[in-house]
Symmetry: C2
Subunit: 149 residues, 2 copies
Amino acid sequence: MEDLTQELFRFFNGFSSWESSVIRASDLTVWESSVIRASDLTVSEAHAIEVLGQYGQMNMKNVAMKLGVTTGTTTVTIDRLERKQYAKRELSSQDRRVYLISLTEKGLQAYEEHHQFHSELSKQVLGTLTEEESEQLLKTLQKINAEIF
Amino acid sequence: MEDLTQELFRFFNGFSSWESSVIRASDLTVWESSVIRASDLTVSEAHAIEVLGQYGQMNMKNVAMKLGVTTGTTTVTIDRLERKQYAKRELSSQDRRVYLISLTEKGLQAYEEHHQFHSELSKQVLGTLTEEESEQLLKTLQKINAEIF
DNA sequence: CAATATAGTTAGAAAATCAAATCATATCAT
DNA sequence: ATGATATGATTTGATTTTCTAACTATATTG
């Protein structure tokens, strides 16, 4: 039990630093020997795109919850993404207080690009495991995600 | 493979929002019907304590890497932790450019407290799995952590 | 030993975040 | 129905967190 706690959080922290290095790295690129800014996405904007790409259209409150920030913060983030045309708001027809947020074409494209890096890590993970372990891991993660997160 | 990528990052994002809600919640407490600040730790300070508690004494650069921020940011964070007596710097005897950072008694105590919350989540995870699945998960995580993170 | 690399710090600016107040719409209890 | 309460989203103003770039000190390398 104590062991699992330790490995669980090591795993989480490992992901965490990997993820921020990827976001930062993908924001830079080298062109004719000098480093230039490749995308105009900040780290928190990239996170929001990741969440929207992963879960699809959702309201502000749910975006905020997935990001682990307040709705005030989310309003600001989505404002910027909308201004830069990565995301769009649509009024819900069910509840007129609600905005449904989704990615635009450009936003989806940015998500796909970022997602490639995820697949890379996934490949690395599979590389360390046997066929059987991989299958078991998938099942276990599905269970945990469905029941806890 | 695509499935695993999806579950892996859902898992990671689930952890992420859980973790930020826990850090925020543990920073507040209710006393005589009003919410007051219980600890003087901010979110980024709590993260640093978590890393130092998890990995033990380490230099600034490694702390920065684990936190996924620059060394400049880390200097500021450790400055504050040192001022509040949660952490301390020691000059390395091997390399005089290097500071080794570690938790003080007070820092360790804060780490232990935070760690309790981790155990709670761990317990929840175990609750959704069979005995066998739990053992397999532990082994798999150990493998991944050792080889990738 | 000079040139280059690395660890850490500092300074100033920009980005991210929060809490609280506010607005508009929904829901609930009577 | 309607007044009271709850909820989703935004705004405001302040604080916190972070970055980049320049800098210092020490190590390493050709």
